[in-house]
Symmetry: C2
Subunit: 307 residues, 2 copies
């Protein structure tokens, strides 16, 4: 089952994808279920009830021109991993613990849904605005001290994540802080695919394209820490909550394509990493799951705007 | 005006402190105002309407045995500063940027209100569970690219913050991650004191006591980055939201008291920093504002608990 979060008439809603171009609003088939995916996941039988309600039903609405929200628009927390793919560690030359996963947090304000524009900071603020294609894990049943062998009992599903980063700010200090939390700088979607349908993530790949050109393409079994290990680690510190998201880290850059001239990007001089600019379109595909597409638009210039 | 968030019959409520031991439930004097402080701050005239409604009214309820919640239980984000007091930078020997504030994020699950127990991790998980007394800034009016000179127009008020930290986990990697986000490891309260009543934070001090013994006592004008500078910095990246919290960093340790024998604590061998243990009581005072008190209790042992 694939579940979308979307906005209609100012309210958040959820739907079940019913084909390549259509979906069923959950309010139409199961009005007693919540309009929030986080709240649905918090019900012990939420996914089962939704699956039963959607069984055999045909799509009634088009996925086109829908305003997708982040799969979980209001999570308790969104974790993201730094330096979790061996090739990305090599290309940055950065060191990271081989014993413990490297984690930081992203705010809801930093994320948009499928199709929504990502905001490129104005040049007076920053110039290195980068994609990071990643697998996103979404927690279903909560828990504490979850052993890796039980981790999959706690996963509701998976999604695609673009962990968009403003490199200059990320480098300001030891903690990445604001560099990973610019307004509408990342995305998650298009949908949550339930764990039973997606199967083992280690058999899939993550692919990132900028303007149709592949820039990342790596197997999800190249992770330093697996999904199960990260769930075990985090749950030693706090009780994972339904709807918590974990972006599993990004792989290295593909080399430039034949005949292509690229300047190495960033302080680490990564050849094949290309900054995002207004007018670009970025895609993150997780094979077997779907493709998250976002256009890049220029953020407003740096002028005081009280709201 | 001092505003509390508290829990009653399973629901979050707010109240106005009316004396040393009493408060007025907002629902009793202004039933049309929201029961959430974040929602109140999001109303352009929320604080003014509450002040008018409470004017001249006497307290009707006791502050004792109230279940305080974190001042903002459900913020969009809680930022915290690392290494923002000159003496704390010296004692840790750590380096930090002198150009940019050093920021990371705490989850709602990591915070409790005044009087609620802080959970000390079981020894098989971690042994260095430390207090960090801090000033907390709470955003009122949102905004983007806020100049430092306008920052105070965007502050609703201030509170006391205990940025409780699990040092072993904080040191696992470059980003502090889980080490700053153990379940119920920190606190914020007892109340939000409005900016008009609190005045200039730089004239006040932060004091931390463990079991009644002072362990930190520093002027709030010893900060590397001021409240106004941090607001300017953050708002360059995203639009600050009503209810966003910023914990401004912790000062250094006081030396041991005369006749006291203490072992230096942690990898940085800080003399005067004392780990918190079950049975302890920790207090963070901001002079002119109030005292945040929390008992320390042992968290359950590390056994699998699905929820």
């Amino acid at each position: 089952m694939r579940i979308i979060s979307y906005e209609e008439r100012g309210a958040a809603r959820i739907g079940v994808v019913a084909g390549p171009e259509s979906f069923i609003p959950v309010g139409d088939i199961a009005p007693s279920l919540p309009a929030s995916l986080r709240a649905l996941l918090a019900m012990p039988d939420g996914l089962t009830r939704l699956k039963d309600a959607a069984a055999g039903k045909a799509g009634t609405r088009s996925l086109k021109e829908l305003r997708f929200l982040p799969v979980i628009p209001d999570p308790h927390v969104t974790w993201a991993l730094a330096l979790n793919f061996k090739k990305h560690i090599e290309e940055t030359g950065l060191t990271t613990s081989k014993e413990f996963p490297h984690l930081f947090i992203r705010t809801p304000a930093s994320l948009v849904g499928h199709g929504a524009p990502l905001l490129c900071p104005p040049p007076e603020i920053a110039k290195e605005f980068d994609y990071e294609g990643e697998l996103c894990v979404i927690i279903g049943r909560g828990g504490r001290h979850i052993p890796a062998a039980k981790a999959f009992d706690h996963i509701a599903g998976f999604s695609c994540f673009n962990e968009g980063s403003v490199r200059e700010y990320q480098r300001h200090n030891r903690n990445f802080g604001l560099g990973k939390n610019f307004e509408r700088s990342g995305s998650v979607g298009p949908w949550l695919m339930t764990a039973d349908e997606f199967g083992d993530p280690a058999r899939q790949r993550v692919i990132t394209r900028l303007n149709g050109i592949e820039r990342q393409n790596a197997p999800l079994d190249d992770m330093l820490f697996s999904v199960a290990q990260v769930i075990q680690y985090l749950s030693a510190g706090y009780a994972l909550r339904p709807g918590d998201m974990i972006a599993m880290g990004t792989p290295g850059a593909l080399p430039p394509h034949p005949g292509e001239t690229l300047q190495p990007s960033g302080r680490h001089k990564i050849l094949g990493q290309v900054n995002m600019k207004p007018g670009d379109t970025v895609e993150v595909e997780i094979t077997g799951l779907g493709v998250l597409v976002n256009p890049i638009v220029a953020d407003e210039k740096a002028a005081y705007r009280p709201v």
